[in-house]
């Protein structure tokens, strides 16, 4: 069943109840069924900035595409302001603003203005109202100066701004933002994050469903967050509530050159969880325990003969630690599940 948080009166902006989506891939004996969504349920009240946090392949994009009517689920219900997205898709499509990651979602041979004019027509905008809306959005996103230049001359960040303008053209009630800052440089990423929080959510009061695998982004922006893993919503809380999920715990972060054997660490007294992330020749170990200093010397003793230690730090739990604690999976993992 969907969770039952309804702080605002009226129907929730979005209700997903037990949504299942299977992908059938291959043919004959090689046929596989991938369970992309496995009974995903969530409720987003109107005006909330809601984050969907999970690793690659967890089902975030699949759920967004189901809500945006791009995918038809195998079972389950999705309602937008009380309307079923599949039986009343016209109503829902008029109220959804969609933004996906990746810069290849626009016509590069057209200018920003011409792109927006085309999509405005699809949403029934025309004449002066359309031009005023486009001018307003171009101004708001700082694109007015370059509005008549072809998109092929734009940077990735500028293209993402045009995509955001497109999502806002018809003044939608709910925004589906799928990894909106993926691949952007820090400056544009910061701008987009601030714009989402301050302008769209706080000022304009829009309901926003934001998917991300950047924990900082979810922590910074979202009123509430749902952890999604292997197609299931694992838990839904505020960021602060999530961090309280692992109280009286500390995280010992160890960075070392090479890949150590972590079997010994798991058997050390007091260590509850060991997570290893190996990138560019460096392993980052995150060990969850009640008191780090008690096992510090033993950890060093175990690792020193195997690898060169680069740094050791004791940290407060982050959202990622909570995610790992609850799911046993890192946000950097790829978790596509095959059931057959």
């Amino acid at each position: 069943m969907a969770d039952s948080t309804h702080p605002n009166p009226g129907p929730p902006a979005l209700l997903c109840d037990n949504v299942v989506k299977l992908f059938r891939r291959g043919r004959g004996l090689k046929k596989k069924v991938v369970r992309a969504l496995d009974g995903a349920s969530l409720t987003i009240p109107q005006g909330e900035l809601f984050g969907l946090l999970g690793p690659n392949g967890a089902g975030k994009t699949t759920l967004v595409r189901c809500i945006a009517t791009l995918l038809i689920p195998d079972s389950g219900t999705i309602r937008l302001f009380g309307h079923d997205v599949f039986t009343d898709s016209l109503f829902c499509r008029q109220r959804i603003g969609l933004l996906t990651s990746g810069e290849r979602t626009l016509y590069w041979k057209l200018s920003a203005r011409d792109n927006l004019r085309f999509f405005a027509a699809l949403y029934g905008l025309h004449g002066r109202d359309r031009d005023r809306r486009i001018d307003y959005l171009l101004e708001l996103l700082g694109l007015r100066e370059v509005a008549n230049e072809r998109l092929e001359r734009y940077s990735s960040g500028m293209k993402q701004k045009v995509s955001l303008a497109r999502a806002l053209l018809h003044d939608p009630d709910i925004l589906l933002l799928d990894e909106p800052t993926l691949g952007l440089d820090p400056q544009f990423g910061r701008f987009i994050r601030q714009f989402i929080k301050e302008e769209l959510n706080r000022k304009q009061g829009k309901t926003i469903l934001l998917t991300t695998h950047y924990m900082d982004e979810a922590d910074e922006l979202c009123d509430r967050i749902a952890f999604i893993n292997r197609g299931k919503i694992v838990a839904t809380r505020t960021p602060a509530e999530f961090k309280r999920e692992i109280p009286h715990k500390e995280i010992l972060e160890v960075r070392c050159l090479g890949q150590p054997d972590t079997t010994g660490l798991k058997h050390l007294d007091g260590i509850e969880q060991v997570q290893a992330d190996f990138r560019d020749g460096i392993t980052t170990l995150r060990l969850v325990m009640p008191k780090a200093e008690k096992v510090l010397s033993e950890v060093i003793e175990l690792l020193r003969p195997q690898v060169r230690l680069l740094g050791i730090d004791v940290k407060e739990p982050t959202l990622e630690d909570v995610f790992i604690y609850m799911t046993g999976t890192s946000l950097g993992a790829d978790t596509k599940e095959e059931i057959q």
């Binding site: 992908f23 595409r65 009517t69 791009l70 016509y107 057209l110 011409d114």
Partner: protein, 278 residues
Amino acid sequence: MPDRGIKTELRAIGAEFVKTMRIWFSYPIMLVFWAVFPLLWVLPYIFQGRALVGSGTSEAFRQLTGSGNYLAFVLIGAMISTFVFSALWGVGNSLREETYWGTMEYIIASPTHPLVILIGKTLAEWTWSTVMVLFQALIIALFFGVQFTLAKILPVLLLVILLMIGFYGFAIAFAGFTLLIKEVHGWVHTLEWIFFLFSPIRYPVQVNPITAAVSTLIPLTWALIAIRGIILLNRTEVNLYQTVLVLTLMDIVLLTAGYFLFIYLERKTRRDGTVGMH
């Protein structure tokens, strides 16, 4: 939220038309191609005709078709088929382009029905085809002595419109397959060659009893026979009513079948989760 009525859909068709044209015009080489193509296209037919029969006319050909003007016969077939195939290319290829550009999902997720977008794309494709066909008609009139009077043009126009409506039904079904199978060139070329074989575009299908029989199922056959009758043999009334009736019936069948097939295939694509895939 703006109400959606017929005006909204017409504006969406217009927006798609303008967008397609702007993208075409952003490639200057396209303009050069279209400027010289009508002339380059006609020359091989002239040389082929001269090589085969020594001139543009043939007695054997007259016995089969009623007209000895082989070149005019072929050029009319080519003109009309240009229109027909533009419908296939217009909807099939341009949908593929939308998936390459990454814009397909945004079109599908919008309140505008994808069929509206297809109409806009086809109109753009037909505009190009019309310009080209007008060039071709000019060449036929100037160099092959074929006269285009208003009495000939109006019934031909009626037949072409009826033909195009039916082919649009065929094309939207084809667009559905394009969404599903993510391939267009092989399909369009296969269909083109089927039409070349089983309809009298380049030769009179009566030369072979099988092609003659199969060709009656293709609206292009009916249209071409009537159009050639009007242009080359001055038979405006003969068979016109019968052809109009047959084409109208075929239009109803093809449009209905095309619409429902497209709806089914578009839903299947959304069920399979392959809308945005290449």
